[in-house]
Amino acid sequence: MKEVVGCGIDIEEPARFRKKIPLPGQNTGFSDLVYTDCEIERNLRFRPDLSFPLGFSCKEAFFKSFGLSWTNSSISWKDIELLFADADDLQNYTVRLSGYAKEYYREKKCRCFESFLEYNAAYVLFQVVLLS
């Protein structure tokens, strides 16, 4: 039987990200701090107005599920990636953990996670439940 190891939820306003969306080939300082090159490349193809805030929301949700933040752990924003596969369906995504996020996930004996995202023009939301 799966046990819940942690859970996290985050909500963001897409309007706050409008000025942070990089132009192709020219990353903003903010995008460089938070997103990997792979995320930036895909987000620019797949609804950047939503994919960038959803990516940030995903990262925050995972931090919360770990009970940590980027200021009190070695986990980097870039250790958690939300990768979209389809511009027409933002529900078609994968989450990739690497670095210290992956290490911490294993230390917590997580076997899998369940996630959920939702969005409208005003808000995006990402939720994750870590399971052992």
Partner: protein, 102 residues
Amino acid sequence: MNMGKITANTRAEVKDIVYSFFSEECEFDLSKINDDTNIISDLEGDSLMFLELIEIFKKKYNLSLELKTIAKYIVRHPVDTIGQLIDTQMLMIEHENNIINL
């Protein structure tokens, strides 16, 4: 150390940027912000604002700063108030990634 980036006006500049930033982002009366204002409980500041500020200062002062370095410093020297944020920012401008060695 980057003493070349620090002038007599730097602290006043940093303070002005920080006060204005939070006043605008948090829709908070600028005249009510002071160095003792708590970023989270008074202004409802969040990670996104903090990252935006880092970006602003990196650009303005052409700083070589890694997020992990900032994070490691903040773990040892928590930033709760506007005044503490200004002090930390001054150290970042002065020392950049060497802030971790303070």
